[in-house]
Amino acid sequence: MNRIRRLLISSLALTAIGLASPALAQSKGTIYYMVPTLLDEFQTESVSAIEKFLKDVGYDAITLNADNKTDLQQSQMNDTILLKPAAIVLAAVDFNALQPSIEKARAAGIPVIEFDRQITATPSDFTSVAGTIEIGQVAAGEIQRLLKEKNGEVKGKILQVLGDPADPYSLDIQKGFEDKMKEFAGVTIISLPALQWAPENAGTIVSDQMVANPDIDLIFLHAAHLSVAAVAALEAKGKKPGDVMMISSNGAPVGLDLIRKGWLNVEVEQPLYAQAAAVAMFADKVVNKQEIKAGTYKVLGLDSVVTIEAWGPNIKIPGAAITKDNVDEPRFWGNLKAPADKIVPVE
C-alpha cells in the first residue's frame, strides 16, 4: 500500500514539474517572419538565422514564404494580423505594395520590423538593413579599384547582370552602382537583367555579350548564384579564372567558393547574420513599444548605426567586400557558420 502511495506521489510530483516547465520556459510571444522567397540561399539562411536569434531572446518564430508573389505576401500579412502576434518581421516582396499591409498591422497594434528591404514610404517600428543602394556603392568602389589596377586608370567596359527587372532590390543596387560610376567617362556599362533571377538567363547574357563585346573587362552580377552560370558560360568560351574580372553581391556560399577558385575577384556581402541579430537584439524594445535610441551599437562585432528616420528607427549594418584575403572569416554568412553565442537584447 505504501509502495502504491509512493508511486502516486511521485507521479503527481512529476506531473507538477511537467506542468511547471513550460511556465518556466514561457515564450515572450510569437513573431512571424515574412520571407519573400526560399529560392535563393540568402533568404533560406535568413530563415535559420532569424528563427535561431529570436529564440535566443525568448520568442517563438514562424516563417511564411511568399514565393516572390506580392499578392500572396499581402494575404499572409492579413491572415497574420488576425492572429495577433507579438510582432511581424517583413522582408517585402514589393517595397510599395506592402505599405497598406504595414499600416494595417500597426493600426491593429502589431509592431512591424522591416528586414533587409527598407520601406521608407510609411513608418515601421524598426528597420534592419545593409542598404541595397550601399551594396551598389561598395561594388562601385571595388570595381574602380580593379579597373585602375588593370588599366592604370578607371576606364573599361563593364557588363552588369541585374536580377529580375521587376525586383526593386536589384534596381537599387544598380542605382547605387551607376551613381558612383557616373563620373568616369572612360567606363562603358552594359546592363542587362536576368529574368526571374534565373541563372541560365545570366549565363545566356554572358555568353552573348562575350561574343559581341569580347573586350569586356569586368562582369558585375547582382547575386552570387548568377555568377555560377556566368562562370560556366565563360568556361564554355575557353576563359580561365582571371581572364575576365568578376564581382557579385550578397555573399552566398557559391560566391565564396568562386573567390577561392579565382573566378570572382570580390563578393560584396550583405551582412545577413548581423542584420538578423539586430532584429533579435531590438525585438523586446519593439514588442514593448519602448524607445529605440539613435547611436552606434555593436551587432556581432560590427559597428552599426541606428538613426531615427521619417520611417522609424533604422539600423544600417555595413556590408563588407570579400576577397581572397578574408574569404574564410566565419563572420561572413556564406561560410554558413552562424554565431553560436546567444544574442543579448539591447537594454
Binding site: L38, L39, D40, E41, Q43, T44, P165, I190, S191, L192, P193, L195, Q196, W197, A198, P199, E200, G203, T204, I205, S207, D208, Q209, V211, A212, N213, H225, V228, A229, V231, A232, E235, A236, A252, P253, V254, D257
Partner: protein, 332 residues
C-alpha cells in the same frame, strides 16, 4: 486555277512557314544589329535553344496526342537538382564519383530520364486511369515538383558538376557546342519516331480523333500514358542539360521555361487542339525565340520587351496558323 506545281510550292511554303520566318528574322537582325552577324552568335543561339528545345519535344508530343503537360519545367528542375546533389562537388553536392570517370555521363542521364519518366508516368496514370483532366493533373505536378526541388535542396544550390559532364557543356564540334548537338539529335530521332513509325502516326491520330482511333483497334490509353512518360523523361533530360550548362543547380533553375516551351510549340505549328504538328517546326520555333532573346541582349533593350515580343509572336503564330488552314482549305 493553279497548277499542281504551284500548289505543291504553296503547300511547302505553308508547311515550313516558321523556317522562313526564322531566316527572315535572322537576316533582319544581321543587317541591323551590330555584332550580330558572326558564327559565335549563331552558335550561341543554337546552344541556348537546347533546353527549351528538348523540353518542347515532349510537350509537343503530349499536345499532338490531344493533351497538355504543364509539369515539364518543374520536372526538368527536379532532374537538374538531383543531378546536382549527386554529382556536384560544392554547395549541397555530394560529389559522387564513378570509375571510370566517364561513367557519370550515362548514369546521370539514366537517373535524370528515370526521375522525369516516373513523374510523367504518375501524370499519365492519373489522366488515363482516373480520367482526370490533364491540365489540372500536370498543373498540380508543376507545383508539387517545384516544391520538392526546394524541399530536397533546402533552397541551397549545388555547384561544380563532375568534369566529364562539364566536358559536354564546354566542348564544341563544328562550332556548335556538344550540348546543342544533343538537342539536334533528339529532334532528329523524335522527328523520325513521330513521322515514320506507327507510334508517331497513332499518337497523331489520337490527337485528331481519339474515339475513331480507339474504334480502329489502337490502344489509345496505353499510347497516351506513354506520351506522358516520354514528356517527363525528355523533360528530365532537359534538366540534366540545364545542370550541365550552369555547372550545377539552384532551386529556381528553369523558372519560366514552360512558357517559352509552349510558345515554341505553338509558333512551330503544333495545334493546341491536338492531331497536328511536326517537330522540325517546333525546333524552328525554339531557334526563333532564342534569336529574339539574343537580339534583345545585344541591343541592350530592357528585358520586358522580350516578353512583349514573345507574346506578340505567339499571337501572330496562331493567326498565321488560322490563315494557313484557310489557304489549305481553299487549295483542297
Amino acid at each position: 486555277m493553279i497548277s499542281p506545281f504551284q500548289r505543291a510550292l504553296i503547300e511547302f511554303a505553308l508547311d515550313n512557314l516558321v523556317w522562313f520566318m526564322l531566316v527572315f528574322v535572322l537576316a533582319i537582325f544581321s543587317l541591323t544589329i551590330p555584332n550580330f552577324f558572326q558564327i559565335g552568335i549563331f552558335a550561341n543561339i543554337v546552344e541556348q535553344s537546347t533546353f527549351v528545345g528538348v523540353m518542347a519535344i515532349g510537350l509537343a508530343i503530349v499536345i499532338i496526342a490531344g493533351h497538355m503537360d504543364l509539369s515539364v519545367e518543374s520536372v526538368a528542375a527536379l532532374s537538374a537538382m538531383i543531378t546536382g546533389i549527386l554529382f556536384c562537388s560544392h554547395g549541397i553536392g555530394q560529389g559522387y564519383t564513378l570509375t571510370p570517370a566517364w561513367l557519370v555521363i550515362p548514369v546521370a542521364a539514366l537517373i535524370a530520364i528515370f526521375v522525369g519518366g516516373v513523374i510523367g508516368a504518375m501524370n499519365g496514370w492519373l489522366v488515363v486511369k482516373l480520367q482526370m483532366n490533364a491540365f489540372i493533373v500536370t498543373l498540380a505536378s508543376y507545383i508539387w515538383v517545384r516544391g520538392l526541388v526546394v524541399a530536397i535542396s533546402g533552397g541551397r544550390s549545388a555547384q561544380d558538376l563532375a568534369p566529364p559532364l562539364r566536358f559536354i557543356g564546354i566542348e564544341t564540334m563544328g562550332f556548335i557546342p556538344l550540348i546543342a548537338w544533343i538537342a539536334i539529335i533528339c529532334f532528329v530521332v523524335f522527328t523520325f519516331i513521330m513521322g515514320r513509325t506507327p507510334f508517331g502516326r497513332h499518337v497523331t491520330m489520337i490527337g485528331g480523333n481519339a474515339v475513331a482511333t480507339f474504334r480502329a483497334g489502337i490502344k489509345v490509353d496505353q499510347l497516351v500514358l506513354l506520351t506522358f512518360v516520354l514528356a517527363g523523361a525528355i523533360a528530365g533530360l532537359a534538366g540534366l542539360l540545364l545542370a550541365i550548362r550552369t555547372s550545377g543547380a539552384t532551386a529556381n533553375l528553369g523558372t519560366g521555361m514552360l512558357f517559352n516551351a509552349f510558345a515554341a510549340v505553338v509558333i512551330g505549328g503544333v495545334s493546341l487542339k491536338g492531331g497536328v504538328g511536326r517537330l522540325p517546326g517546333v525546333y524552328a520555333g525554339v531557334l526563333l525565340l532564342s534569336s529574339i532573346h539574343t537580339a534583345i541582349n545585344l541591343m541592350g533593350l530592357p528585358a520586358h520587351y522580350t516578353q512583349v515580343i514573345l507574346g506578340a509572336l505567339v499571337l501572330a503564330a496562331v493567326l498565321l496558323d488560322t490563315v494557313k488552314l484557310s489557304i489549305k482549305q481553299m487549295l483542297a
